[in-house]
Subunit: 403 residues, 2 copies
């Protein structure tokens, strides 16, 4: 069996942890598997390199920043192979140039395009464990690029796809994907399986276990992902296309407390006004999430939307700076709001799911401020003070604590 | 004019020094020159990386050690370009993969074979300063190699040769090559010019300004070298094939206090005995320097030789371990000895030079223990207590203080 195993920065933060990972990987190797390991930079090294760069130049070019940052993973892979050597197992480290990890040219935020497998295949055939730098690539100019934060997950999935690996294991500091955040929902339960789409919606909603792009890529190439802990031997959660028949209507409840709501009151009710609002926000790099537009009352209408917590004031400033152009009566910001979502592939063929969620919130006397839905997700905006109570109640009503 | 400028680790050890180098390079660029910069790793970074490796594995594989160490220069070149960007001048950093610095396969001690100039040429044509990682290369397996200590000098000379540069400037913490070590010889004078061969003999004798292999390569490809200080604007010393007509008989006096003398007394006087002695030492990696063999007395003879200070006891052990095979009466070690040499291309056609040196030492009542000569060098072994007095007297007798 060919396995790709990815370990994040905390898993290789020091000598002890490097040996811990090495032993774990060697176990798989000794069981007769071919093993490819993908590593991030050690602990806080990426942050330290960025700080070092900013000390020299507060606004370094992305090209040179990538050149600097790629030293981080290269350090990890070399040290890992030295540890494996001590443990008596042959291994070899490879960076993005050696593998030829082709990416788009966008420094700092490149996308993987193609991975050459010849060198890796050769090393695997020579019975070596192959340890590869995550997060980095090479563009058409033969320059280093990086894939953006969390990009090592994507490296691992792309390698698994290119090598036709049987499995891609992503090791993190949690032991799998849960039906809800265990710190909020007391009866949260670890899922043994989840679909790509559910995982995508959970990732987008801030569950933060897997990098979004890596899940998209796994879905596209049908790579079976396993999310598991680098600290325990627990089974983890399998992410794949189809989950077992006994699948649940709803897989999980996600809470995102970083939302803020902005309302534009008394806009002219004429075409193009929504475009002008969101174009101004986009140009200022403000990411807008849920959008709600009231039906026109007379000759005015209202538009509300949510933004990530840190960008509420930025959004407000953009709107105030453009008041004359946008021509609204006044603008409001509401900071103490949060998003609670349910996600589940089963929801598609069961129209009653959203209603059941709303009923649950009604029974709890929780007011819903906004609603947004996709095929497999329902999100409501509520007061942040009600968030934990809502999540627990919803978790209970859908029976998520039962296996 | 195309100039290659090499700066060592101390010259880029911190932000202030990086900016210092950047400004210096930019001056050349603004004067209309094409500039290629070669950098070592910052300050003690190479030592720190080695320590990091040894903490994981006391005896790391050279392949993985090189993989780790090459991150050092890559860090330097990226930061340098960020500084140049702040100063408003376009630049680009390149590592050994990007340049394609082909070397032999010997990890840790590789030799440069060929350098592709296409990418560098392209960047120079785009009016960029090109900042290249010293000390590193890529071998036929597409793995990183390093050139051994001081290898960045060699990188710079090789680049100058490949690019047909007009000049190769090596910046160090001294402002040029001196007629003698100014800490020992009070009237030591900086040379404005010196030949490759003289420089080679001085380098071998421990003058330590330039890496030996870099001088050999400069000679081979006729690259004009300039050794100068990164801290001052002084002219430095030019190293080239032919120096001005007014050249001196002797260019410099070198003192090497790290020598030790070993004497094997009462060896059998028969063929093959010298081979057996020095073969045993070579196999134990003991570098032997001056060798003196007495003419046979009856059926025995004596062999004396010098080794670098740190290896005297190693040599002794090798000889004692092989006593039965080598069949000598006894072995002696003399630790308080030193080598004093004069070097000068002019010596070749002037047979009286050695005699003048010996006469000088006789006048100073300094006893000569061993003598070794080459075409352009005379070396004597004397008591270390006499070293400084000898160096000053020789410096005076050859008039080295006069320009």
């Amino acid at each position: 069996m060919l396995v790709v195993k990815k370990f994040g920065g905390t898993s290789v933060a020091n000598k002890e942890r490097i040996y811990n990972v090495a032993r774990r990987v060697i176990e798989d190797y000794k069981n007769g598997n071919e093993v490819v390991v993908v590593l991030s930079a050690m602990g806080k090294m990426t942050d330290e390199l960025i700080a070092m760069a900013r000390d020299i130049n507060p606004n370094p070019s992305r090209r040179e920043l990538d050149m600097l940052m790629t030293t981080g993973e290269q350090t990890s892979v070399a040290l890992m192979c030295m540890a494996m050597d001590v443990l008596g197992v042959p291994s070899v480290s490879l960076n993005a140039f050696q593998v030829q990890m082709h990416t788009t040219s966008a420094y700092g935020n490149a996308r993987l395009k193609r991975i050459d497998t010849e060198r890796i295949r050769h090393e695997l055939d020579s019975k070596r464990i192959v340890v590869i730098t995550g997060f980095q690539g090479v563009n058409k100019y033969d320059d280093y690029t990086t894939l953006g934060r969390g990009g090592s997950d994507t490296t691992a999935v792309a390698l698994a796809a290119a090598l036709h690996a049987d499995k891609c294991e992503i090791y993190t500091d949690v032991d799998g994907v849960y039906t809800a955040d265990p710190r909020i929902v007391t009866r949260a339960r670890k899922l043994s399986e989840i679909t790509y789409d559910e995982m995508l919606d959970l990732a987008t909603l801030g569950a933060g276990v897997l990098h979004n792009r890596s899940v998209e890529m796994a879905k596209k190439y049908g790579v079976e992902l396993v999310v598991r802990s680098s600290l325990t031997n627990e089974e983890g959660t399998v992410v794949k296309e189809d989950v077992k028949v006994e699948k649940m209507l709803v897989s999980g409840v996600a809470v995102d407390k970083s939302a803020e709501r902005i309302s534009l009151v008394g806009l002219e009710d004429k075409p193009g006004i929504a475009f002008r609002v969101f174009d101004a926000l986009a140009k200022a790099n403000v990411n807008v999430d849920m959008i709600l537009q009231s039906v026109g009352r007379g000759d005015t209408k209202d538009i509300s939307f949510t933004v990530d917590g840190n960008f509420g004031d930025d959004a407000l400033k953009v709107l105030e700076d453009n008041k004359s152009r946008l021509n609204y009566e006044h603008v409001e910001i509401e900071k103490n709001v949060c998003k609670v979502s349910i996600v589940g592939a089963g929801m598609m063929s069961n129209p009653g799911v959203a209603a059941k969620m709303f009923e649950c919130l009604y029974n709890e006397h929780i007011n819903i401020k906004m609603i947004s839905t996709s095929e497999i997700r329902v999100t409501v905006l509520i007061d942040v003070k009600d968030a934990d109570r809502a999540a627990n109640a919803i978790h209970d009503i859908f029976g998520l604590d039962e296996a």
